[in-house]
Symmetry: C2
Subunit: 256 residues, 2 copies
C-alpha cells in the first residue's frame, strides 16, 4: 500500500488546492498511479481538473456517508491518470452529520483502505479549517504537507496547526509524520517574504522543503481552463517548481 498524504493548513488561500492538483498531475505524467481526493466543500480541486460538478452522480460526500464505495465515486478527468474523487457543495453537510457518529474521525481512512492498493499514492486536498473533514484526512494519511506563503498571518497559524498535529499523532494516528512545509507564492524581492522564511526555518528546523513555489499567474490561469499546470504550460516557472517538488518528495511519498 502506498503513502497517503494530506495537504493541510487551516489558513485560507495558501495554495493547498494548487499544490494538490499540480503534484498529482506531475506524478501522473511520470506514469505513477495517483488518486486525488477533494475533501473541500468548495470543490476547487474538482474544478481545477475541469470536472463539471453538475454532471456528477457521486462524490466524496456519498463515500463518507457510507452510501457508496470509494471506487464507485472515482472519476478520470485525464486519461489514464490521475484519478479523482470529486467534491460537491453537499459535503458541507458532512461535518454536521458526522458529529454524532461513532469513530467519526475514521470514516475516510476506512473508505480509502478499500482502494489503496490500486494506487502508488493518494493525495487529499483539505478545506481551510481544523474541523472533522480535515481531522478525517489527518487520520487517513500517513504524511502531511503544509503549504504556506511567507506572510505574517499564515506563519502565526503554523504553531496552532503544529499543536493539532501533535494531538492527532498522540491520540488518533501515531503514524502521521510531516512531509514538510512548502513555501508557496514566493517572491524573493519582498522583504517580508525573506524575513518570514528565515523565521520559519529557525522555528521549524529541517521541516522546510528545499523547493519553493514562486508566485506565478499561470497557476490561476491554468485553473480557469480546468487544467493542471503540467498540461497547460509545463515550462511555466511554477510548473518547473512543482516538477522539482515532485522530485524532492518522491523518495518520501513514493518509495518502495
Amino acid at each position: 500500500m502506498g503513502a497517503i498524504v494530506a495537504i493541510a493548513n487551516q489558513k485560507g488561500g495558501v495554495g493547498k488546492t494548487s499544490t494538490a492538483v499540480n503534484l498529482a498531475a506531475t506524478w501522473a505524467n511520470l506514469g505513477k498511479r495517483i488518486l486525488l481526493v477533494d475533501l473541500d466543500p468548495q470543490g476547487n480541486a474538482t474544478t481545477a481538473f475541469g470536472v463539471d460538478k453538475k454532471s456528477l452522480q457521486r462524490s466524496i460526500y456519498q463515500v463518507l456517508a457510507g452510501r457508496c464505495r470509494a471506487s464507485e465515486a472515482v472519476v478520470v478527468p485525464f486519461d489514464p491518470q490521475p484519478h479523482l474523487i470529486p467534491a460537491t457543495a453537499d459535503l458541507s453537510g458532512a461535518e454536521v452529520e458526522l458529529v454524532g457518529e461513532i469513530a467519526r474521525e475514521q470514516r475516510l481512512k476506512e473508505a480509502l483502505a478499500t482502494v489503496a492498493d490500486d494506487y502508488d499514492l493518494i493525495i487529499i486536498d483539505c478545506p481551510p479549517s481544523l474541523g472533522l473533514l480535515t481531522l478525517n484526512a489527518l487520520v487517513a494519511a500517513n504524511r502531511v504537507l503544509i503549504p504556506m506563503p511567507c506572510e505574517f498571518l499564515p506563519m502565526e497559524g503554523l504553531s496552532q496547526l503544529w499543536k493539532i498535529l501533535g494531538i492527532v499523532q498522540a491520540r488518533l494516528n501515531p503514524q502521521l509524520t510531516v512531509a514538510g512545509i512548502l513555501f508557496t507564492m514566493f517572491d524573493p524581492r519582498v522583504n517580508l517574504t525573506r524575513q518570514v522564511a528565515e523565521e520559519v526555518r529557525r522555528h521549524f528546523p529541517n521541516q522546510v522543503l528545499n523547493t519553493v513555489i514562486p508566485r506565478n499567474v499561470r497557476v490561476s490561469e491554468a485553473q480557469s481552463f480546468g487544467q493542471p499546470l503540467i498540461r497547460f504550460d509545463h515550462r511555466a516557472k511554477a510548473s518547473v517548481s512543482y516538477q522539482s517538488l515532485a522530485g524532492e518528495l518522491a523518495p518520501l511519498l513514493l518509495a518502495g
Copy 2:
C-alpha cells in the same frame, strides 16, 4: 442601533480579515464608535490588532457559549477606538458544541443586541467556511460585504455563496442585504484579473463596489507589526483605497 456588517466569503485568503481590520480602524480614526468581532478560530483580526491572545480572560467563545456578556469580552487595543471582541483557538470547539442547541444560529445576534446601542457600526470577521459560525454572523448582520481577489477559484465560489445568502434571507434573516463585492489584491496589469473583474460585473450587476483594493505588501507588513494600515502607513496605496472604501460604504453602513 447602527448597522451590523459581516465580512464573509467561504473561499480562503481573499482579504476578509484585512478588510475588516482596516475598515474598522479607518472609521474609528474618523471618530466613529466601531466594534470589530473576530469570529474566526484562527484569531487573525485579534493578531492584526496586536492583541496577545495568551493574555485574554474572555473572548467571543465565552460569549457564544453564554458564559459572559458581550460587553465583558470587549478589549480596546487602540485608545479610544475601535473596540474588539477577540477570538482564540477554543472557538473552533463552538461549531461542534452549538450543533445540538436550540436556535443555534441566533446566539451571536442575541449577544450583540446587548451592546449594539454603544456603537455606530459592528463589523464581524468571518472564518473561511459556511458553517455555524458564519451562519451566526449572517443572522446577526443586516449587511454582508464580500471581498474577493479577481481570480478563477474565488469567482467560482461566489455563486455558491450567493445561493447560501438567498437561503439565509428567506429562512433566517429577511433583513440581510449585500453591501457589495469588493475586489481585493487587485493588479490591473494581470490579464486574468481584468477578465474576472469584467465577468463578475456582468454576472452581478450593481453589486461590485467602485473602490478596488490594490495588491500592496504594506497590508501584510502592517499585520506583522500588529497595527492597522491607517496607523502603520496611512499613505500606502492600500490604505488610501481603504479610506475611499470607507467613504463609499459610509452612506450604507453609517447612515442615520
